[in-house]
Symmetry: D2
C-alpha cells in the first residue's frame, strides 16, 4: 500500500500516517519526492481495510500494490488447472469444450431433441435451466426438480455432462444431486453465502462473472468457493453492461488473455448472453476460440421462435452444427481440439 501525501504536508502529517501504518502491524517506508512525499506500508495487508488512512490530514490518496486474490492466482499455481467431468470430458487444457443447450428446460421432447443434436455436433456438456432467475416476477420461473430430472434423463441418453444453475442455498443439495457442473449465475456472483455453499460440494462450479464486476472481484468470488475446499472452478464471461445499445451486453474478450495472465483457472465464454442476438453468436464463438478461451456455454434451441425464455439469443440446432464445423477448422489452426 502506498499512501500519497498532499503537497505542502508537514512532518507531523507524515508522522501520523506512519503511526497509523504501525498500528496495523505493518512496516513503514517514507520516500520524499520532488513534489510529493509518499509512505509505503510493507507487509501482507490482505484482509485489512486501511482505506480510512485516506481521511487522515494531508493524505491525498492511497494506492494498493498487492492483488487481493491468492489461491486463484498464478502466484500460487503456475500451471493451468484442468477440471475433469464424470463423463471423461475436461475443461481447461488442449480441448476446447463446448456446453450447449436451451436456456430453460421446457419439456422432454425439447430437451432430448436439443441434447441429441448438440451431442452429435460435438458438445461435451448440456446446459439448461431448471431454476431460472427472472428479472420479471411475472415470467416463467423454470420447472424446478422436474427440469432436473429431465436433464438427468438427457445425460443418460447422450452421455453429456449436465450444467445447470443453482440460485439459492436451499436448492444446493437438490441441484448437486442431479448436476455435473453447478452454475452460479451472473446475478449471484456477489452472493457470497451461495458461493461458500457451492464450495462445500465436490462438484465443479461454473462461475459467471457479474455483469459489472471487476476482474479482481471475479477472482475473489472464485476464492470464496476455493477456500471451502472446492478447487474445481470454471470462470465464465457472459458480457458486461455498458452504454452500447446494439447488444444486450458487451462481450469483452480481452478478459481471456487477462485471466490467463493472472490465474490458473479455465475460462469459457457465453456468447449468447454476451450479445443477446442469435445472429452474432457464431462470430463470437469463433473469436473466443481464436483468442484462447477454454470453451463455450451456448444457448441452442430446436425452435427459438417458440422458446419460453431467451429465444432472441438462442441459435438453432442447425446453426450450432454448422458453427461446430467452423470451430473445428479454427481449432486445427490454433493447435486445439474441438
Amino acid at each position: 500500500m502506498i499512501v500519497v501525501m498532499k503537497p505542502g504536508c508537514a512532518q507531523q502529517d507524515v508522522d501520523h500516517v506512519v503511526e497509523l501504518i504501525r498500528q496495523y502491524g505493518l512496516k513503514d517506508h517514507v520516500i520524499v519526492g520532488t513534489d510529493r512525499t509518499v509512505v509505503a506500508a510493507i507487509g501482507d495487508k490482505r484482509g485489512l481495510d486501511m482505506s480510512a488512512i485516506e481521511n487522515a490530514p494531508m493524505v491525498d490518496n492511497m494506492v494498493p500494490i498487492l492483488k487481493p486474490y491468492k489461491v486463484a492466482s498464478k502466484e500460487v499455481k503456475r500451471e493451468p488447472s484442468v477440471i475433469r467431468l464424470p463423463n471423461g470430458a475436461t475443461m481447461g487444457g488442449k480441448k476446447f469444450s463446448v456446453i450447449a443447450g436451451p436456456c430453460s428446460v421446457e419439456d422432454e421432447k425439447q430437451l432430448l431433441t436439443t441434447a441429441e443434436a448438440v451431442k452429435k455436433a460435438g458438445a461435451i456438456g448440456l446446459r439448461g435451466g431448471a431454476f431460472k432467475p427472472r428479472t420479471n416476477p411475472y415470467e416463467f420461473q423454470g420447472l424446478g426438480e422436474a427440469g432436473l430430472k429431465l436433464l438427468a434423463k438427457a445425460r443418460e441418453v447422450t452421455g453429456l455432462a449436465v450444467c445447470t444453475e443453482v440460485m439459492s442455498i436451499d436448492q444446493m443439495d437438490l441441484v448437486a444431486h442431479y448436476a455435473d457442473i453447478l452454475q452460479i449465475g451472473t446475478r449471484n456472483m456477489h452472493n457470497f453465502n451461495l458461493l461458500a455453499a457451492a464450495g462445500k460440494t465436490q462438484k465443479p462450479v461454473m462461475l459467471k462473472r457479474g455483469w459489472s464486476a471487476e476482474l479482481k472481484e471475479f477472482l475473489l468470488a472464485a476464492e470464496y468457493i476455493m477456500n471451502e475446499g472446492n478447487q474445481q472452478v470454471i470462470l465464465c464471461e457472459r458480457g458486461i453492461r455498458t452504454h452500447e445499445q446494439y447488444v444486450r451486453n458487451t462481450l469483452p474478450l480481452a478478459i481471456i488473455p487477462a485471466v490467463k495472465n493472472e490465474s490458473h483457472l479455465p475460462i469459457v465464454i457465453d456468447p449468447s448472453q454476451g450479445t443477446g442476438h442469435a445472429y452474432m453468436v457464431p462470430s463470437m464463438c469463433k473469436a473466443s476460440l481464436a483468442a484462447g478461451a477454454d470453451g463455450l456455454l451456448i444457448e441452442v434451441h430446436p425452435d427459438p421462435e417458440h422458446a419460453m425464455t431467451d429465444g432472441a439469443q438462442s441459435i438453432t440446432t442447425d446453426t450450432f452444427a454448422k458453427t461446430m464445423e467452423e470451430l473445428r477448422r479454427i481449432a486445427d489452426a490454433v493447435d486445439r481440439e474441438v
Copy 2:
C-alpha cells in the same frame, strides 16, 4: 409490443409475424409506413417472452411499449406511499428521514457512541451491518447475531429504528427478529429468492439498487417483494458503476425525479457508498434533499481512521451533526422537515 420489419420484406414475412403474435394470444395490427412495415401486438404481454420474434425472417427489431412493472407503478397507486416505522418515524412524506450509523457494528462502545450522536443530531434510524457482504473473503465478515443484539440495545437506549442487512434466506428470521427495517444490499437486488423471502415478512424493506441495474429492474425487484404481500418497500440509490475514477461509484441523482415519475414508493440516497469519499458526502446529502429525495442512509463513525470497514467513506459524528444543521436550513427552503 411493436415488431419492426426490414425494408423489402414480403407479405409472407408479415403474415408469419402476425401468426406468431396470434399464437401468443394477442391481437395484431399492421401499419405500412413509407419505408418500413411495423406490426403492433395488442394485449397485456407482461409475463410472455416474445423476444424470439426478433429471429423470424425479415424482422429487424422489436420495441416494447408496456412497462413491465405493475404494483410499484403510479398507474396502480397515484399517491406517494408512506412507510411507518415502529418508533413512529416515517419514510416518504414531508419528513426527510435520515438513517445513520457505522458500516459495521464493531463493539458496544462504537455503536452506542454513534447511535447517541446521530440521534442527538436528528436521525430517525440507526444503520449498522452485523452480516457483511465482503468482496474479499479474507476481510472482516461482521459480528453476526452478537451485532444484532448490540443494535437492539442501541435502539432501546436511543429510540432509533434499526436498519440492518440480511444476506441470505437462512438469516431472514434472525435478522427480522431484531431489525425494524430489513436491508437488501446492492449485490442482492437480483437475488430473487431473497427478495421473495423478505416479502413474506411484515417488516419494511430497504432495497438498494444493483450497481448496474436499470430503473425498470429496480422496480421489478420491488415487485418481487410486494407480490408476496409486503408493500413496505423503500428504494435506495447507492451509486452505479461507470468509467469514472474519481469516485468509487457514480451517484445518479436524476433517479429521484425518475422514481417520483414512475412509482409511489419512497426513495432515499446513500451518499457514502454513492461516492466512496467522506469529503463528498455532505455535498451529496444536501443535493439529495434539494432534488426531492425522501431521506438518506449515511455511514457515520466516531473514529473513521480506525473503522474496520468503509472508513474512507464514513463521516465523523461531528461532520454529521454539522451536515444535519445545513440540511435543516435547506429543508425549510423546500418545504420539508429534517
Copy 3:
C-alpha cells in the same frame, strides 16, 4: 511513479527497471516488500510517457503518483477563480450564476422572447447555438452568423452576457466577435487544436466535459486553454454516458466537490443535456446549487413542443421563472445568491 515487480523477479529484472528510470533522468528508489518489490521513480515525470516500462521483464504494473495537471490545480492557486463578464456578472464566487436560453437560435422572436423572460427571472447570461454540432447530418445545423447577430441584438436589449458554441478554428474569430463566453462543446473537449485556439482569445471559455472524459482529462483540457494565456475557464458538467436508459445522460453531481477539491476553476452544471428530460431539470437545478456548484447552463424555450432542437429537454419560460424562485430560497439556506 511506482513500478510494481512480479513475485519472484530476479535482481537483474530490478536492475533493468532502475536503468530505465535513470535513462528518463529520474531518481530510483527500491523497496523490497514481503511479497513484492517496488521501484519508485522520483522527479517530475509529467510530459514523459514511461508506460512502456510495464513491458519490461517481470514488471507487473505501474502506478502514477503525480497528478498530470498543473495550472488548473489548487496546488498552483489555492483561492477559487472568479471570472468577470463584460456585463458585470461573475462566474465563481458567492453568486450562483444562471445562463439560460434556447438550444438553437431559431429566429428573432423566439430568441428575444426567451431572453427577456430569462432576464426577468434572474439569469445573468443568454445561451443559444448558432453553430450546432449535430450527430445526424440531415438535421438542422444552426443559423450561423445570422444567429450570432440575433444573439448580439438580444444582449443589447437585455444586458445578458452571450454564451455560444464555437465548433472549429475557422469559426473562432467570428464567434469571439459576438460572444461574451465561448462555449466548447462536449464533442470537442478532446479537440486539442480548438482548445489551443480558444486559449489565444481573451474571452472566457465555457468548457463542457466530454461525455466519457475522466476528471483528469477534463482538467488537462482546461490546461490546453490556460497554457495559451487565457485563464478564464469555466468548467461545465453535462452528463456522462452509462448503461442507464431512463436518462439521455447520467448527471454525476459528485464532480462538484471533486472539482472544488482539485481545482480553483468554477464549475457549472447543465441539467438539460445532463438528463435529457424537461421534467427532471428543476430537480437537478436545485441539487446543483445545494451541492455547491457555481451556476447553471439551462435550455429554455418559449414553446418546447415546436423547438427545432432539443425540445425534449427544454423547459418553458414559466417553469424557468418558477425554478428561479425556488433556487432563490435554497440560495439563502446555503449562503449564496441567485
Copy 4:
C-alpha cells in the same frame, strides 16, 4: 416514430399529438391497446427533431422506428464495399488487410526499421502519427510535416500504403498530400466539420469510433464524410470506455457482426488502443480475424520500452511477425487471406 400515451389519457391528449404529427407533415395512425394508446407517425422523419412531443400532455415516451443513417446502410447498397489503395491493396473483401507501425513517427531509423519489418511480415499499410492528439499538453505532440515526409520515404522504400491522422481542417491539405489513408481519431469522430472536410478529399478515410459513441452515431459520422462525395470510408473499432480496469479500453468485437448486419462499409480493429496492453494484442488480432473483421490497425515498435508514446500497448517487430504467421493459419481456416 411511435408516441406512447400515458394510461388514462383523454381523447383531447391524443388529438393534440395527432395535430403535432400533422404539423410535421407526417401521417398519423392511432392504435388503442388494452392498457395504452399509441400514435404512429408515418413518413420519413430523418432530419426532424420531434423529440419534444415527449413533453406534450399525457405523453409517456417516444420510440423511433427508422434508423437515422442512409448511405452507409445496407438498405442502400447490399454488397460489401471494397476500398482500393494506391499500392493495389484493398480494405474489405477476401483479403484480411493489416496496417501496422509505430504510434508516433519518431525518427527515420525507427520508422524505416519498423516499416521494413512489417512489410516483410505481410502488412499492406504503415501507420504512424505525425500530428498526435495528446490528452496531456505537456507530452510529445508529434513531428508534424517532418513526420509526414518520413512516412512518404518509408512508402517509397517499402511500397506500404501510408495511414496517418489528421486532427484539424487546416492540416487537411497537408496530410492528404502525403497520406494514402486519412485517419480520423476517436476524439474527433464527433468533430463534424473535420468529417465534412475529409469528405471533400478523394482519399480513403479510416474513421475511428468515438470511445463512447453508439453504433448509429458511428455510422452517421461516416455519412458526414460520404455526403460530401467521398464513399471510401473504413470503420475502425478501437475500444470503448467502461468500468473495466484491467484494460485501458474494452474491445467490443460484437461490433463486427453488427456492422456487417447494418452497413456495407469495411470494419477493421485496433487491438492496441483496444486493450492498452501489449500482451493482449496477439490474442485480440486472432479473435478479430475469426470474428469476421476486414483487417487490423496495430501499433508495432522496434523497441517499445523506449517508444515516445503508447509503449505499453506496442508489440515488438518480432511479436508482430509471429502473430502474422498465426493469422495466416487462421485465415486458411475461415477462407480468408492475410
